[in-house]
Amino acid sequence: MNTLHISTSTDEETAITTVSLEGFLDADTVLRLRKVLFDLIKEGHYKLIIDLKKLQYISSAGVGVFIGVIKRVRENSGDIIFLQPLPTVYRVLDILGLTKIFKILEQEKEAVDELNKI
């Protein structure tokens, strides 16, 4: 069975939270990610780096969860940046238009710098 591992870490100094995803993000596993994101936002974490380097699969249900929260995040002076997606994951993000909505970067430092500018 394909699973999704989620881990989060917050740098209190920069107020940036990194959400690392490993495995498979589909209509089944997305429910846990939705809860994690909603809880982070509820707690006031609006600067998010989504580390995708170990994510092997994303379906539209997975993509949808980020679209569903981006408006609220940006209204609160935050943003979501995707980090190092694998080519298969990048292709899905691109086809669904997320590359026009979200920044996708290769280096963590770049992502931190981007979020610090806000």
Partner: protein
């Protein structure tokens, strides 16, 4: 999974309950079969995802609405709802040949006119708290042919075709 072999074509079928927990099994089978025919890794990933999206739509929308209709007629009862799951099958029929892979997905959920569905624009996506319609874009983009048909007594029939590059 049932399997029927002929000299050229190979036919198989699989029936799963309408539950997202089975999506990974569906993807594994799709990947395995399309690899055997000779699709590249990239094409295998596309087939896997298109079939995942089609099944997800059935689970999330076709049968969910059906549930909603039934719930309005019946008192809320956890066990009654569980029993209904038996009546919400998703049937996948796979046909492989030396030049293409055909997956037919059949459900008995709400009628959905796949062909008249318009995928939302990016602006529309952003205004949705629960974005919908993304999966259909994936299916249309990743498969070579998509045929939808609703047959009374059978249900929704979605036929997805992927041709092997010549």
């Amino acid at each position: 999974m049932r399997q029927k072999r002929s000299s050229e074509n190979e036919k198989m079928s699989l029936k799963i309950p309408s539950d997202s927990a089975h999506l990974s099994l569906v993807r594994t089978i799709m990947a395995d079969l399309s690899k055997k025919i000779g699709f590249s890794e990239e094409e295998v990933a596309k087939i896997e995802m298109a079939v995942d999206e089609a099944c997800t739509n059935i689970i999330k929308y076709a049968y969910k609405d059906k549930d909603k209709d039934k719930r309005s007629e019946q008192p809320k009862n956890y066990f009654a709802r569980r029993k209904e799951d038996v009546n919400k099958p998703i049937e996948l029929q796979m046909e492989t040949s030396n030049d293409r892979f055909v997956v037919t997905i059949i459900d008995r959920g709400k009628v959905f006119n796949f062909n008249s569905h318009k995928s939302p624009t990016l602006k529309e996506y952003l205004n949705m708290t629960k974005p919908q319609g993304l999966g259909i874009r994936v299916i249309r983009t990743f498969m070579d042919e998509v045929h939808y048909n609703h047959k009374p007594g059978v249900g929704n029939i979605l036929r997805l075709v992927k041709n092997l590059p010549k």
